[in-house]
Symmetry: D2
Subunit: 423 residues, 4 copies
């Protein structure tokens, strides 16, 4: 007889189970809007370790194949598909909810993820306008701690796996604040393509629970879209909020009502192409604790966190600089604009990767998905903000450093593109 | 007799010597404008190791004392005081100049540096308007690899020492581009306080060489101010372009004409308070090499670099998030603005440090000078850019982590302020 | 319909499946001796990603409970239980087998591991004689990337998960070499307790395949014990041969015949208490490739490897020194003996942890299991080798640094001990 | 007038000044034996930052040239030349002396160092017998944070600069203990070449102070040699006790009487060739503080320390394993001997470097001097201790990783050898 019997071995419970191969809006425990009236689907005690399964952020709209038509036609009214909410016993507004992100893994039956470039008119991305983006895609094979892609040969990297989206539920007042301020921005940029922000949209709204019709309709009508991060966390897409991190969330409703989704096997700082992480379905492991009155104690206006001790370490990097001057375009001078500076650093890096033989689309996808680091260098030297983008050289199986003889240009093919061949 | 005699020991030559205790405009080998007509003060061969001495960026205007009146009255027409230019034999426009930053140290006779908050009306800084800034100062004692300050007790950290400002000389065409684009920005924000940019300004212009009067006057009249970084490098204030880095500069004039100054013992990402690094006078050690035609080979639109293997490593950090919503102010929603997001993350960190007992001014100075890391988290989740600011916990001699019982507020006094006591 | 359907998602195959709750000698695909005649249980092609399940090294002899009697009575003739061998197509003696260790995880149904101190007379350990060891145990809860133990309160750390034991099969000649040289050592220390080495031992030998009786008997009679590492790899217990590593093995038999087991969730350098890692059952993910003639090409006398980019990073450490003088005992001077020096460093660390309130047994277990780093400082300063042992401070939830007022001694209880209470 | 005048700038005082070009035994403030009767040459207050200048450990016997005759003929009765002792006010036996190693730099006028292989009969080294060592030498150019050598082309690395030798003075009782135990070892190995240890030796003894003759003679007669590390610190040659470290020393005499020397620009774990670091003359910066009764409070039997946050970071390494079997020689099996295991790992690494084209002597010198990391893997798997040696790949300007086509063998010439050409 074996001493370590099943009797003394208690697996961590899985509170929400999903199937990544079934459309999200056919599954329990998912929702795709933020609203205080979405009831908790499960309740945990502080200190308990538990697991939550998540579909990928699109809810299974993107396939493991060599054509980007699914990206072209993605229905963004349905995103992000979140798992939850999870209530934590004893939590009240004004408390600080500590969430330990203990693990983030893909499903064993689905060892792959994807990175996409969305169409200018459907989703966009950082360079949607500059590149007049057409749908592209890279499929990544997930082999243990590593990812590699048949669509971007010559690279392999360890994942800094994290939830792109995690947050507590908003109070009615906070929700109203969001809708008001974002509505004003939308109104000020009414014709923008892609849009500057997304108002509540009943079409596509989903809550995977049996709710009274009027409750669901209220949620669908008022519920904040999940695209941006906000005071409660949300879609911050911070790559270093990774497995092993401890996060301190402000609590706005009784029970805190934590939701999570948009799992990323890896992502670069900035997430560049918007669907830029290695998007995956998978399993996240949590434990929680509460600090009563933590919002006041720590002056919490939004989450703070302690990053993980187990993120990938690539010490050698090639760093690109960017300033708030559009030197890759019309040369326009901006006023201390770090977003412009980030874009210039990114364009400089894309240009360099093209010299090595990657297509612009491959480079865009790669810098979105790989563990590149982008630092705000200086944001005080008027008029130029300076932002850097550091590409780890160790993720390549070939030497990318500048050489006296120049760079060797190889043929790396192309990523997955549309069936009509339009780029 | 000693075998290792002076005869076989050749010190690295010092090509420019300065005295940090003599006003900059009384010294040879310094200049404070960018212009192609500034002749090289010295010439080196590729491969040679050499040293350059630098005054601090203000040229000795700030003193080691406990009053910030010198900061209040600083004359910014005279900055930055750069050492150079150094010509590299055989370098031509279109080449890539490789510069190895081999060391950056303070003068032995001047083991201190300073961090300042400038007045709203004289220099400004990231929060000049929000804080309606009045002059403040922290003096840092430099003890080997560490800095500490009597004006900000309770912290000590290892320096990531670097030149805040390093660049090659512009061609006439490039200079004209700079002046044109910045002039247009200034014209569009004519009444801004502090100004959005700085046009050429003959007052205060200086070149520490014997030049024909008409040459000097041309330089003074046309020379670009040194405040911002630009395509040639310049005042990028990138903390990780530190000793041990290798930098690849585009070359715009024969000889490259490298200049350097604004040495920093340490700096946080962003440099926040503008005079935010630990500003110091000191010595920088270089060697150079040339890649012919490197601008074309690497697609160099601005410098790229390999960071140093010897930067400080503080693995535990407390990370603050910021979004492009002014949640620390009027709540206004911005459109994917990473500069706003950086500011919010910084204000969140300042608020936290105040809970620990640091004054707002101490916190502002500390986050400017210490090795804080600011990453662009995501810049695609409309409408909110997300930027993080990570404060290493190991630089404090007290525990700053969130605790169930809250934070312990200590009395850390105050930094150096104006003699009239105005904050 | 979901685009990412099961049809386009191929899980990595699991080539050996085991149940950690069933005794090892009732399961297929396991073996516990090294011998060239053990046939491969499965064959893979180079480039294929695959999984192997492993029981813990004792084969389920140790239970998740609060008593160490199972450790006291462990049957070491049955260890280590290895999964394999796996043949790699096309591999021949003299080749180099590249093994990518892609992942190492516990079973979902068994989220715990154990660390044991064995009895002086049954298993021993580094301080078996000094401590006159009696059985002790710590059970570790595995919560995602972290481990913590009810038997050693106040610590939590990220695992550097790895196979303690991995190797290719020996040729008959190599096996004969092992048995000869170890037999000579045993003969020279015939009465040693614990023994200095372990000769082939038919009792307890096991191969989980249907073998002709004479084949099995040959294996049982000649098969090398699995305790030590040898030229083929084997039980090297190198904590940094962790998930994410790439290892280059010499090949001695056709197919290479790779076997693996003794999975560790975490381990300190040295493994101190022998059963000193966090021993676990679990799943390892591999891929392989071949370099023909690699033994000659690289001069491979034993494996070499590239460590993982994802090992835990705890930058602050408290380092203890040890010399080849028994200063914790009789003061005897040894001659450049790094083993003695390691022991002194370890005893110095144990003494320090006792000042903090941990029992000697808890300290011994903790230093065995946590990611402590032990460096050979210097091994040339006659007569004293110097070895250091670095304890990461970040694994404690309390401050362990030396303080002017001394150390705070807390009550951390005791680890699991024998039912008769003997320590 | 400059605000930062000399008046407000106080350099850190230099308490001992030496000239690296003058023989050590002509200079004040040096000594080369450990003895309680050596009076302090200077006294400091706790909290004060101060500098100490040091000659190289041989006291200027080795020259910057291309011949190793000086190494062949080195007079080891004169080593190590230490600077000190420095008394710390208020320190008494039983206290803990905290020493902050704030900086370690070469002299500006002497930007080079050396690594030597000593003759079998004069100094030895780890492989003195195996290689039947003849004198060899590499001269290193120190260029800021980096070292490179004309005698070992193709490598450049950042220094982890540290004092090889630092310690407090022994009490008479401690000194007697040392001499007794080492004497017994010497007696037991009377004919060993090189010797196993070094007894007190009046010849060559030196104290650079005016002492009464009888005092000096007592010191010369009884004084412990400086070769090994001991309970007070001493010649531990721990590379990570580097600039930025904080060390806690036990105090044995009033004032503590700290001495330091044997500065290393860089060293690999183990120091392999004995004169294996990049030996240099230079300047060390300290500050100190006292914990009263610290020996008892912390159970200090020898120093403990906190390593520096600024050591070089090379994340990619090629790791060699070694076991306590002499597989590079006669195949003998040892009993859990980590020293043998270290040697095997080192020999495996040397063999690999030879495949790349380095000579055995170059490889031996390089592994001694570069920041290689040696970990004790496991020291419990009877009979084989396992030790690893990790060579950072980033220190080479060529690719050293195993490749399918094998390794590219280049011609790197040879290090400096004897004028008679004997190797």
């Amino acid at each position: 007889m074996s001493a370590n019997s099943a009797a003394n071995s208690v697996p961590h419970p899985t509170l929400i189970k999903v199937d990544p191969f079934i459309p999200a809006d056919k599954q329990k425990g998912l929702h795709n809007r933020w609203h205080p009236d979405i009831p908790p689907i499960a309740t945990v005690k502080p200190g308990q370790t538990f697991k939550i399964e998540c579909v990928d952020w699109t809810g299974g709209q993107i396939g493991n194949n060599d054509c980007s038509d699914d990206v072209k036609n993605v229905d963004l009214t349905k995103v992000h598909n979140l798992s939850g909410p999870i209530a934590v016993e004893g939590t009240e507004p004004g408390d600080c909810l500590i969430v330990d992100i203990l693990d983030v893994t893909p499903f064993e039956k689905m060892p792959w993820g994807f990175t996409g470039i969305f169409e200018l008119e459907n989703g966009g991305g950082l360079f949607a306008k500059e590149f007049r983006s057409r749908a592209c895609k890279a499929i990544w094979d997930l082999n243990g701690v590593y990812a590699s892609s048949r669509h971007i040969p010559g690279v392999r990297f360890a994942g800094v796996s994290h939830p792109g989206l995690i947050g507590t539920a908003p109070s009615p007042e906070l929700l109203a604040t969001w809708n008001k301020r974002e509505g004003e921005l939308i109104a000020a940029h009414a014709d923008s393509v892609p849009p500057v922000a997304y108002p509540p949209e009943p079409r596509g709204a989903y809550v995977g629970q049996d709710l009274p019709k009027n409750v669901f309709e209220k949620i669908a009508k008022e519920g904040a879209r999940t695209i941006p991060g906000r005071e409660h966390g949300g879609n911050c897409d911070i790559k270093n909020l990774s497995k092993g991190s401890r996060c301190y969330f402000p609590v706005f409703v009784k029970g805190a009502n934590l939701s999570v989704g948009d799992l990323h096997f890896s992502q670069g700082d900035g997430e560049m192409s918007f669907c830029g992480a290695i998007e995956m379905a998978g399993i996240i492991t949590f434990s929680t604790s509460i600090i009563k009155g933590g919002v006041e104690k720590f002056g919490l206006k939004q989450p703070i966190f302690l990053p993980s001790p187990v993120d990938p370490m690539y010490s050698q990097k090639l760093v690109f600089e960017g300033l708030s001057v559009n030197i890759n375009g019309d040369g326009k001078q901006f006023n201390m604009d770090a977003s412009v500076a980030y874009k210039q650093a990114a364009l400089n890096a894309i240009g360099y990767l093209q010299k090595l033989g990657y297509t612009r689309e491959q480079a865009y996808l790669l810098l979105s998905a790989a563990p590149v680091e982008s630092h705000v260098g200086a944001i005080v030297d008027s008029p130029n903000a300076c932002v850097t983008l550091a590409v780890p050289t160790g993720i390549f199986d070939h030497d990318i450093l500048p050489k006296p003889e120049g760079l060797t240009k190889k043929d790396f093919g192309q990523c997955a593109i549309r069936s009509d061949g339009v780029l």
